[in-house]
Symmetry: C2
Subunit: 338 residues, 2 copies
């Protein structure tokens, strides 16, 4: 059974296409009798208006595109969830694509979105894109008058609405928390490459150190790429100095750091306190449970979607950048020293 169109129905009743169109749309212009006949037949034949045709006509699709760097990261899943929720409440559907942190894939996706498929776009930049600072594909889209909202991984090079996490403040807050419970030598394990996010957190870290007159020691910043062996890195670190606190810049890193530290016989939090970023499912259930920075992913998603939908509906407003504050969830991996 192939899809039935207005034309098919019109043929069946020997009336014009527009008559059928009006009938199925329950227009008052059509006689009750004819309308009923047509509507029944339409239902029987499972008639559904073709959305492509409607979209073409209305020059709007009621869908929004979403590009995230990595769907296996719980933060982005939460954001996605928030976006989906708000989008749905407002009658929008979502086309979601994964850039996999690759600039090339991101551009390909953006190319696709830049062709009438979506009414607006939400995107968090791929790491590669942030590093290379190449934003042509996106600026093309913006130039084509497609509303764009950037979240989390943003760039100053683009003029559009943005939703960012207050990563600077988060870095500051975590460091201060560690200092307050008595840590002096605080290491940072950074798996985020050279992303904007990681940089901001480090700036916050430095500010907190300054505030307490603790000298900044670059050797305490461990940059972790996928090739590195965490075990080895930690070994260097722990032999280098007496470490009292460690900040892991994402959840899985914090969990792994915890493992390594425990395996080496340290007691967490009595010997070493640990804080992680990006609160997800893991940190609550490891032993000891990890103190984490929650970025409120779902909320960010909701906010982002609201911003976008708002712009779609009322264009021309000045661009906004919303900053979402993080929360520190204090659990068992950080302990007040007496």
């Amino acid at each position: 059974m192939k899809k039935v169109t207005l034309k098919d129905i019109a043929g069946h009743f020997n009336v014009s296409i527009s008559t059928v169109s009006k009938a199925v749309n329950d227009s008052h212009e059509i006689s009750a009798e004819l309308k009923l006949k047509i509507q029944e037949y339409a239902k029987e034949k499972h008639y559904k208006p073709n959305r492509l045709a409607l979209n073409l006509l209305n020059r709007s699709t009621n869908t929004i595109g979403v590009v995230v760097p990595n769907i296996l990261n719980y933060f982005f899943v939460q954001v996605l969830y928030g976006i989906e929720k708000v989008a749905n409440e407002n009658g929008y559907n979502i086309i979601s694509c994964i850039s996999n942190e690759s600039s090339a894939k991101e551009s390909k996706t953006l190319e696709f979105f830049d062709s009438g498929t979506v009414d607006g776009l939400i995107i968090s930049l791929a790491e590669e894109t942030q590093n290379e600072n190449k934003h042509e594909a996106l600026s093309d889209i913006i130039n084509n008058d497609i509303p764009v909202v950037l979240f989390d991984r943003v760039t100053d090079a683009l003029e559009c609405d943005k939703v960012v996490v207050d990563d600077f403040e988060a870095g500051y807050k975590t460091t201060k928390h560690l200092i307050n419970i008595g840590c002096n030598n605080i290491a940072v394990v950074n798996p985020t490459g050279s992303s904007s996010v990681g940089k901001l957190r480090l700036l916050g870290y430095k500010k907190a150190l300054e505030e307490f007159d603790i000298p900044y020691d670059p050797k305490l910043i461990m940059n972790l790429t996928s090739k590195d062996d965490l075990d080895m890195l930690m070994s260097f670190l722990l032999n280098y100095k007496t470490i009292e606190g460690i900040i892991g810049l994402d959840e899985i890193t914090a969990v792994k750091v915890l493992e390594v530290v425990k395996a080496r016989g340290y007691n967490v939090p009595n010997d070493i306190s640990i804080i992680g970023f990006t609160n997800g499912q893991l940190s609550k259930y490891v032993t000891p449970s990890l103190t984490m920075v929650s970025q409120h992913g779902k909320y960010i998603g909701e906010l982002t979607a609201k911003l976008l939908i708002n712009r779609i509906k009322t264009p021309g407003l000045p661009y906004e950048t919303k900053t979402v504050k993080t929360s520190l969830l204090v659990r068992d991996s950080t302990k007040k020293l007496q």
Copy 2:
């Protein structure tokens, strides 16, 4: 800058639309000279063919729809990841929607997909849908000749391609593993409602018991709804009998069971062994690490997408049901008793 169309370009050069169309498509019918001029202008103006128009013309969209019940569940995220990968390799995009286990939302989504928006559909049924056994929306879609592949949460009521996990065998295998290491009283904590998946696992469980002449005790099957308090349920269970093994039918349940059991002073695995289903990020990092059933989510996604794309490209083949075997990842929460 509004989107530029063929018409605009035609106007600019005072030629016909079809000439421009041919020029941008690099047709040999157009003089090299004109072609170059037009192509340059098109590039300069960021011309992109409107996909909606093309899709309407070709009656195909090169996108596939995906409906998952719950995106916060790591299994479904993995499947999604696999689908996206294969889809992408084959030039398809993905529209993903979340049914949130709600029948109503699912139908709404299916309604949307049943209107020319996608070339095919991948779906795992919402729990509610499985319980109520109402599949009208989906069967409408199938009747409208839109290829559908069902995965994981499937139903016999629908004729289409399917990819299922061998949940029966998985239930059997886990139970047998526990019996082999010396467990007699094996409880099951089932948070999956009355889904097909849970039922099959329980059947496997019973078969294993039978095989070893262990009487089946329905009191050892704990159905866990979101309203239930796991702590209380476990309290009943542990007071009822000496439990030696517990199977949690999803990851978070297994982790929580582990927590409760540990909190009550039992040693895992010496007093009680625990196995969970749906291997995700959690189970590896809890203490002790949990023995889990891996369902190979990513592989399932890939397989599902391949099946769908195959059917889109060559319709008319007989329907297939592929069964994916699980693997048991033995970790520290199950121990050989001597």
